[in-house]
């Protein structure tokens, strides 16, 4: 014999779930979901065949390939440097460590256009170090490395901090050398966090706009990455072309997000 009246008593006790969930969902819809829905619907309104015709023109294709290629390169570099930085910040000690640690978040806090300007100042025509990478893919690469720097570091750091040193000590007592310990004990624990950081960095690299717009010069087929292509199409009035590629970017972002979610579940499977 169920107790319906009692459920509402509990609801009253611990705070109107219906109301706060409703407000949250409503706000999310207006701010995020409905605009994205508009993009998807309008971007694919001509039908499947038409969509691919619009989205797959040579310039768009080149932009997407360039974007993916650069993102992969950036991610590969970050996997190494990010882990090294996290290691240094957790296991090492030197003067100014707290300063270095705080600095890692700079790309999160600094507006992307400012980042772009600073990179142009350093690697552009009036470069202080006499390097001119403006309008080249190297320039774009440097910009992407700047904005993606924190991701791997910040996902790996907490895992390194939590890591039970006793495991490494046990391995050492069993005869394992430093490299072996890293490879067989530490690295497997870092891997899920590393992959998570890589996925976030990848999503960021694919979509970066403000940091690359100045240094790229937006040369089609050379330095025009996908976000710049979308922007440029929109400015020329080709809303359809812009929307098509934007939908592709949205899909990639969703896939990456789902990937991260799956990774998290995989990573915590031993804890359940």
């Amino acid at each position: 014999m169920p107790n319906p009246g009692v459920q509402s008593a509990r609801r009253r006790a611990l705070g109107a779930p219906g109301l706060s969930s409703g407000i949250a969902l409503g706000y999310l819809s207006v701010v995020v979901l409905i605009p994205l829905a508009a993009l998807v619907v309008k971007g694919t309104s001509g039908g499947w065949h038409h969509f691919w015709q619009v989205a797959w023109n040579p310039e768009a294709k080149a932009a997407l390939e360039l974007t993916l290629g650069l993102a992969l390169a950036v991610v590969a570099i970050n996997a190494v440097t990010g882990t090294a930085l996290a290691w240094t910040l957790v296991r090492d000690s030197f003067p100014g460590k707290r300063f270095a640690n705080a600095l890692i978040d700079l790309p999160f806090a600094l507006p992307t256009i400012v980042a772009g300007l600073t990179l142009l100042a350093l690697y552009g025509p009036k470069s202080a170090v006499h390097v001119n990478a403006a309008f080249t893919r190297w320039g774009v690469l440097m910009a992407l490395l700047f904005v993606t720097l924190p991701f791997v570091v910040r996902t790996v750091q907490p895992v390194l901090i939590e890591l039970d040193r006793e495991m490494e000590e046990a391995a050492a007592s069993l005869g394992a050398g430093r490299l072996t310990i890293f490879r067989r004990i530490v690295f497997p624990h870092l891997l899920p966090a590393l992959l998570s950081g890589i996925a976030l960095a990848f999503a960021r690299a694919i979509g970066e706009f403000g940091a690359v717009i100045l240094i790229a010069g937006n040369l089609p087929f050379k330095t025009e990455v996908a976000p710049l292509y979308v922007f440029q199409r929109l400015n020329s009035g080709d809303t359809e072309g812009a929307a098509a590629l934007a939908v592709l970017l949205l899909v990639i972002s969703l896939v990456v997000l789902l990937g991260i979610g799956g990774l998290r579940r995989y990573a915590t499977r031993h804890d359940r």
């Binding site: 014999m1 107790n3 009246g5 009692v6 008593a9 509990r10 006790a13």
Partner: protein
Amino acid sequence: MAITARSITKRFGDFLALDDVSIDVESGSLTALLGPSGSGKSTLLRVIAGLEVADAGDVFISGKEATALAPQKRGVGFVFQHYAPFKHMTVWENVAFGLTIRHRPKDEIRGRVDELLALVQLGGLGKRYPAQLSGGQRQRMALARALAPEPEVLLLDEPFGALDARVRVELRQWLLRLHDEMHVTTIFVTHDQEEALELSDSIVVMNRGRVEQVAPPRQLYDEPANEFVMSFVGPVNKLDDAWVRPHDVELRHDPNGTTREAQVERIVRLGFETRIELVRDDGERLYAQLTRNEAEELEIERGDIVYVRARKEKTFG
């Protein structure tokens, strides 16, 4: 009856936590809900408090139907295993909370809180924060906090489980004294049978979501209703079909017709009691529990052959 729970059933997903459970708790009594992990005892306590909602069944507190009432309205005091202190408030503010939100006059609150702090021997620690207290002190604060709004019923969920053994013993004594003074109907959950036997007027033994037996401690120990209760409430030997308490195992140097032969395998001296581990002639293992003096008088050693019989045994159909 201070508390009546009738036919309570509760599921968590596929797991049946409570299966048609009914109990009656007398006003002013100190009752234990005893059982292993997963037996449903904490769930039952939380249903009585209103922190969980039963799928079926009714709860009555002081004669009034409470099944549909929110925890705020039930007049129950609840003490958690990990104390649930309000970490951002001082000890004094914690204890005063129930009265503060009822907007009682400041003087009344001050009087009552000071009184309670003295009662739980935390006087003078009012300005500290919970993080600065020891485990035992935190638990006493939690008790004072629960008692401040003068609840009709006091519910304690494994209140001493997170404490050191010695502190646990102290607090047990102390709870008994508190109960004697305040006479609030109290139910506490525990998996420690010694605690239940020591403190309660009545014990509800639970296993796998069901009530196995309800009885005062002595009766529970001497007349268990089934094997589970017998083996949970105290140590047992199982010999053939009979269950024998170690202190009911009699040892003799000579047979007398009702005894069986056994060899002494190990003698463990535990201070005031001595445990003698035996192997019977048919291979069955058992152990006997003797006082130190009894053991000394017997003068046995490892490897000796002795003759054993059960002074008292129980079989269950």
